[in-house]
Amino acid sequence: MNLSAVMTEIGSVLDALTGLRVTPHPVKTIVAPAGVVGYPESITFDVETGRGADRFERLPVMVVVADVTARSTAAEVSKWISGAGALSVKAAFEAHDWASCDDVWLREARFDTVTIAAVDYLAVIMMVDVVGSGEA
């Protein structure tokens, strides 16, 4: 399982959601609404014997929306964070047939304010666990 390939594929799934500007890696500047794929908190090797499986633990997928104090931000972020719907990140991940790994599980999301280029944005940080072959 190749980390770069996984991050790229996650980015492609996000990119298919209308209205989201996506980069499959951390960036210095963005234009909201944006999707950014980060690096996992850790990698667990040898989840199975014989290099059968590795696991990327808590890989952050961030959707950066808009000014955290704006009235419209709650409605905006709800489109991406809902469990279902045309712009649901969760639904998009569940429906996707992953090629770079066996499974991507969006397990939780939390909210934060992130400052990018001196602007405060509401960010939804979605944590995914990725499991795939330890050999390829």
């Binding site: 040898d46 989840v47 199975e48 014997t49 014989g50 290099r51 059968g52 499986a53 066996d102 499974d103 397990r107 499991v131």
Partner: protein, 133 residues
Amino acid sequence: MAKIHGRFTIITVDGDNVKGTTSQFERTSDAHDVTEYGDMDHVWSGGLGGGTFSISGIYDDTAGTGPRAVLEPLIGSVVTVIRQPAGAGAGKAQDEVEALLTKYVETSPVADMVTWSADFNLSGAVDSTAQPA
């Protein structure tokens, strides 16, 4: 001589390499109490040998190689199990035995990967000859 990590273990069942998360190989012997008058402590004699083998792993739905394809059809069958606890290599440990698959289980927790497990009864002698060169 060195301590061995479990990730190197290779298990083959009926010719198929089965990758898992844990396995256990247990050998037993019947024990016959042959204590007689005058003995102050129990005296035992060994009897028939036996044992069990169990393995579990993460469920893989790959046709032809996943546990459901490889193991589930073997329920009730006696097949060859080969265990190489330190991996493959000349002189490394190996156990080869016929074994009856008595149980195959799939478990689906809501918050984790689907897992599987299989239990075997050892049938007949265990060949623990080290792997050939």
